[in-house]
Symmetry: C2
Subunit: 163 residues, 2 copies
DNA sequence: CTTAACCTTGACGTACGCGTTAACTTACCG
DNA sequence: CGGTAAGTTAACGCGTACGTCAAGGTTAAG
């Protein structure tokens, strides 16, 4: 009986620890199906593959998956919206990589401007949600205070009854 | 040709302006289908009806629908979660109404405790989301600053090129 | 009484975000 | 070399949150 297959490859050179889909699924808490689905939808770039076809993910990919989960479950963004966001992030990376390359300056400026606009849009959405959440927070805390005072009142009544 | 039917009923006594489903849909921005769907799922209490069967909504119902929309689109809650919330709210109203009634004190306390627990759960969720949002807000503002500084850098390069 | 605007209850359709087999290949251990 | 754990694609299924007819009843105006 095979004990367990080695999840990390590259025995001696530890430049990058590549992970297979099962490991990524376990570490991120999503299923393998979800990872393949995200790839289909363009949320994850097609990962490198082992000769046999097995997917090999990087730590960056893991971080990306975690970000996707946060955006989705905590903030309620759709996968389409999240895709736009990660694409904007890609642009940023691209720019950072080719920043010193002597390409057309106007083109790089255009890309930067677009990335900036996308970010501004995201920021606007975030700020809106923040406002709504803070308002709700206030309301709920008021409610809690109400409940507590009512509960105290009931305790008083109970005392009066038993006496 | 009929011009338009009167949307509000009760010609002289203006105690409450009841609205038909079309009016509510228009004012809240949701479809009639959605309103009936919310009723089916228990998010809206079955409204009163006209003799013919037409639904008659109150202003309170309108406010509820708007709250549902906020919770859903801004915060990403599911209808099931929202249902719990509005039910907790119902309990609150109920308690407020029967507060002075000499019913079983222990029963009222149990209800209050349950409502309080639900509210605490909601608060926890809200605070988690608030934290995540604030973090994202910070990151995005950093990004924007980055973009701006990069753009300035590009302007410098452009000057150097043209000179 | 007619008619247009408005409403009713089904009932089927749809987009999203995956879950769940099925049928097969690949990788490692002994 | 064989067995088994892990991976692959393909395809159908499912719950949520409605959209979209279809077929008809109700209401108010003329």
């Amino acid at each position: 009986m095979a004990i367990k297959r080695t999840p990390t490859l590259e025995p001696e050179s530890q430049e990058q620890a590549y992970l297979q889909i099962g490991e990524v699924a376990e570490r991120t808490g999503v299923t393998q199906r979800t990872l393949r689905f995200y790839e289909e939808r363009g949320l994850l770039k097609p990962p490198s593959r082992l000769d046999g076809g097995f997917r090999l993910y990087s730590e960056d990919d893991v971080r990306r998956v975690e970000q996707i989960k946060r955006l989705q479950s905590l903030l309620g963004f759709t996968l389409a919206e999240i895709k736009e966001m990660v694409e904007a992030n890609e642009v940023k990376m691209q720019i950072r990589a080719t920043y010193r390359k002597d390409a057309a300056v106007s083109e790089r400026r255009a890309k930067l401007l677009k990335a900036k606009q996308v970010t501004e849009g995201q920021l606007a959405v975030i700020k809106q949600k923040l406002g709504a959440l803070q308002e709700m927070n206030g309301h709920l805390e008021e409610k809690l205070a109400q409940y507590d005072s009512w509960l105290e009142g009931l305790v008083e009544q109970e005392k009066a009854q038993t006496v």
